[in-house]
Point group: C2
Chain length 406, copies 2
C-alpha cells in the first residue's frame, strides 16, 4: 500500500540536498577530483575548495578557519569533542556535567566514559524542556572538566541557555580555573538561529551538513584556538592532526555551499516554518482531543512541533501516517531501533504513555500550507481510528488502573 | 604557469568518480534522501539502498552482508579495526605484529597504542618490498593479539603474503589459540586483485571507495562474524552498534556501484594498466639514466610504478612535472606535509638519497599510450635539467662523500 501524495515532515532527521548545493558539489566528483593532500594541481584545486568551505563554515559561526575540523557528521563531531578532550585531560579530573535531553551520540559517549570510571551528572530539563543555568552552577565541582549541553534539542526544539552557561564558564576562568571546557551540540540549531561562538562562550560546537540541505557524510567540529584534543582517527596530517583521513572534498564543498545558503535564507526559512507550524498546531489543538504539546512554545526552533497523543502508541501513529504518505518520527532517527519511549520526552516528566505517544513533526523549506492541511486531515482521521481500536483507550475511564499496569 | 595538457598519474592517491557511479548515486541526493534509520517510506528507501550496497561490497570480497561496517573511508577502517579490537582485548595481551611498510593510518594507530603501553614489532620488507611469513612466525608470542599487514602496498604496489599469514593464524587457532586476529589493509589492492576473505583467512579487511572511482567519504571494514570490536563513534544503533552516525547514503550507494564495476572490469583495467606500465618502465629504463625501480616487479599491483631518480629530489621532480601538467606523488597523499623521505622506500633499505628521489606513478583506467609518451618525454627532459642544476649531482663524482653528508 503506497500513497499517491507524499509529505515529508521529518526535516530534523535529515533534509534533501538542495539542487543549488548539488550543483556546487558536482565538479568535485568528476573533474576536480584531486586528493586535497596531494601537492600537484589536482590536489591544490581540491585543497582550495576545502579551504573555501572551511571559511564559509567558520564564518557562519564567527570562528576562524583553523578552528574548524571537518569530519563525517554530527555524531563524529560529538564523539571527537567529548572523547577527544576527555582522553587528554584525565589527570585534571574525571567529571562531566551534561543534560538529560542530549542527542544519542552525546548520551552514548558519556555512557562509555562512565563505564571507564568517569562521573557524569545529567541535569534535568524540567517540564518545559529547558536546562537551568543554576543547576549547572550547583553541579560544578573542582574536578569538572567538561560541560556538554546542546544548543537546541533535536526532538522538541527547545533552545538551551548556552550563552548563560558560557558566561558561567568565563566567570570560573576569570577566577583562575583552567581545566573547564564547554561543548554544545548545534546540529539541530544551525541554520535556524544565529550562532556566534564568542557570544556563546563555548570551546567546542558540533555541526552536521545533512540537516542543512547538503548530502549526508560531512560535519564539522569547532575547536576554540588553543584547546587541545586527541584525534579519534589518527595516522595522517589532515585537519591539523585532529582528524586523519582523505578529506571528503565533494561533501565538504556541499557543506560550505549549504551553510552559505542557510545564512542567506535564515529569516525566510524561519518565517515560513513558523507560519506553517502555527497553522498546524492551531489546527491540531482545535480538531484533535487529548493532545499535549511538548517543549516550551516560545523558546523553540521554528521548525519542530512535538506532540503527545494520549491513548495512542506513537509507533502505530507513525506507521498509519506513513501509509498515507506522511513522514514523521517518534524520536530522533539515531535512537530508532529501540522500543523504549523517547528519553527526551521522559525527561520532561511525562509518563510512559505520553512519552510513547509523542510524535515529532519537523517542517522544511519546501513544505506548503497545503501540506499542513493534508496532514491535519489525515491526523484527525487516523488518531480517531487508532483511539477506537487502541487497548490504551480502554483505560481512559480508569487512568489510575492504567498507570499501575504501565 | 599552467599546462595545456594534463595527465593524471596519481590514481593511488585518489580517482575521479566514474560517471556511471555518479549516475547511480544522484537519486539519493535529492529524491531518495531519507535517513536510513527512519521508519517511514523515505527511510526505508534509503535503508534498502544501503542494504543493496552492503551486499555488493560483501559479495566482492566473499563476505556476508552483516560482516560489512560502512564508515567514512580507509583511514577510519584501519583505525576501527586496530583500536576497536585492541581496546576490547587488553586483558589478553598487548602485543601487535605489523610491517614497516604500512599506510600512515596503521602506522599512526600503532604509535598511539605504543604510547599507551602496547608493544609493536614492525617486520622488515626487505629490498623487494615484501614481508616474509617466517618473520611473522618468529615474531609470534603468547601475548600477540593482532597481526596487521597490508594486502598490497600503496607506494610500491607489492602484494604481501596475507594468505600465508592467514594460514599461520589458522594453525595457531587449530592448536587452541583463541586471542589472535589478522587485519589486512586492502585499500590499494581492492579492484586490482581478487579478494576472498576466507582464502585470505583475515578477520578484518579495510576498503576505501575513492580509490575505486567513487567519491571520497565512504569506506568499509570487514569484520569476521563473531569477532567483537569496540566502536570508535558511539551513540547510535547504526551498523549494528559498530559505527554510530547517520549512514552517508549517497556515498555508500556510490561505493556499491563502484565495487560492482571494479569487479566486472577487473581484468580489463589490469590489462590496460599493465600494458601502459610496461611501456612506461621500458621507456624510462631506456631513456633515463640512474634510475632504480622499487618493489619486486612481478609481485606488484598492475597500476603502480615507483622509481627513484638518483641525484634528484623527488619533491622538485614532482613540482617540475606538475608545471608540465603531470600529476604524480612522492609517497602516499596521507603522508604528505612532511619533508621526511618515504618510510616505505626507506624500509626497502634504500638510502636517504634514493628514498627522497622516489616518485610514484599510478595509472588509471582512462590513461592512454599517448599519456605515457608525453610523460616519458617530459620526464626525460626534466630529469636532465634537474640533474644539471642539482647540488646533489655534484656528489656524483664522490658518492662516499655524499653518503657521509646525508
Amino acid at each position: 500500500m503506497t500513497s499517491a501524495r507524499r509529505v515529508y515532515l521529518d526535516h530534523s532527521a535529515t533534509t534533501p540536498a538542495d539542487p543549488r548545493v548539488v550543483e556546487a558539489m558536482m565538479p568535485y566528483l568528476t573533474e576536480r577530483f584531486g586528493n586535497a593532500s596531494s601537492v600537484h594541481f589536482f590536489g591544490q584545486e581540491a585543497r582550495a575548495a576545502v579551504d573555501r568551505a572551511r571559511r564559509e563554515v567558520a564564518g557562519v559561526i564567527g570562528a576562524r578557519s583553523n578552528e574548524i575540523v571537518f569530519l563525517s557528521g554530527g555524531t563524529e563531531a560529538n564523539n571527537l569533542a567529548i572523547r577527544g578532550l576527555c582522553e587528554g585531560v584525565k589527570p585534571q579530573g574525571r567529571y562531566i556535567i551534561t543534560s538529560s535531553i542530549e542527542h544519542a551520540s552525546v548520551r552514548g559517549i558519556c555512557e562509555v566514559l562512565e563505564r571507564g570510571g568517569w562521573e557524569i551528572t545529567r541535569l534535568p530539563a524540567y517540564e518545559d524542556g529547558i536546562v537551568k543555568v543554576e543547576d549547572v552552577r550547583s553541579a560544578l565541582r573542582a574536578d569538572t572538566v567538561l560541560i556538554s549541553v546542546m544548543l537546541a534539542n533535536n526532538e522538541i526544539g527547545t533552545i538551551q541557555p548556552i550563552r548563560e552557561i558560557g558566561a558561567l564558564v568565563r566567570q570560573e576562568r576569570a577566577q583562575g580555573r583552567k581545566h573547564l571546557w564547554l561543548h554544545t551540540d548545534a546540529v539541530q540549531a544551525a541554520g535556524r538561529i544565529t550562532i556566534e561562538v564568542d557570544q556563546l562562550g563555548c570551546d567546542f560546537l558540533s555541526l552536521s551538513s545533512h540537516k542543512l540541505y547538503a548530502p549526508k557524510g560531512a560535519g564539522a567540529l569547532y575547536v576554540r584556538r588553543g584547546v587541545r584534543i586527541s584525534a579519534l582517527n589518527v595516522g595522517g596530517h589532515q585537519e591539523r592532526e585532529r582528524r586523519a583521513g582523505t578529506e571528503a572534498v565533494p561533501g565538504i564543498v556541499a557543506f560550505g555551499a549549504a551553510v552559505r545558503l542557510a545564512r542567506e535564507e535564515l529569516e525566510q526559512r524561519n518565517d515560513s516554518a513558523r507560519e506553517l507550524r502555527e497553522k498546524f498546531e492551531a489546527a491540531v489543538a482545535e480538531r484533535i482531543s487529548d493532545v499535549v504539546f511538548n517543549g516550551r512554545p516560545e523558546r523553540r526552533l521554528t521548525h519542530i512541533s512535538n506532540i503527545s497523543f494520549r491513548f495512542i502508541e506513537g509507533q502505530s501513529l507513525l506507521i498509519s501516517l506513513d501509509l498515507e504518505g506522511i513522514a514523521v518520527s517518534t524520536g530522533s532517527a539515531c535512537s530508532s531501533g529501540t522500543l523504549e519511549p523517547s528519553p527526551v520526552i521522559r525527561a520532561l516528566g511525562r509518563n510512559d504513555e505520553l512519552a510513547r505517544g509523542a510524535i515529532r513533526f519537523s517542517f522544511g523549506k519546501d513544505n506548503t500550507a497545503a501540506d499542513v492541511n493534508y496532514v491535519v486531515d489525515v491526523l484527525s482521521r487516523v488518531t480517531q481510528k487508532l483511539r477506537t481500536l487502541s487497548p490504551l483507550n480502554k483505560v481512559k475511564v480508569s487512568s489510575s488502573e492504567f498507570r499501575v499496569s504501565s
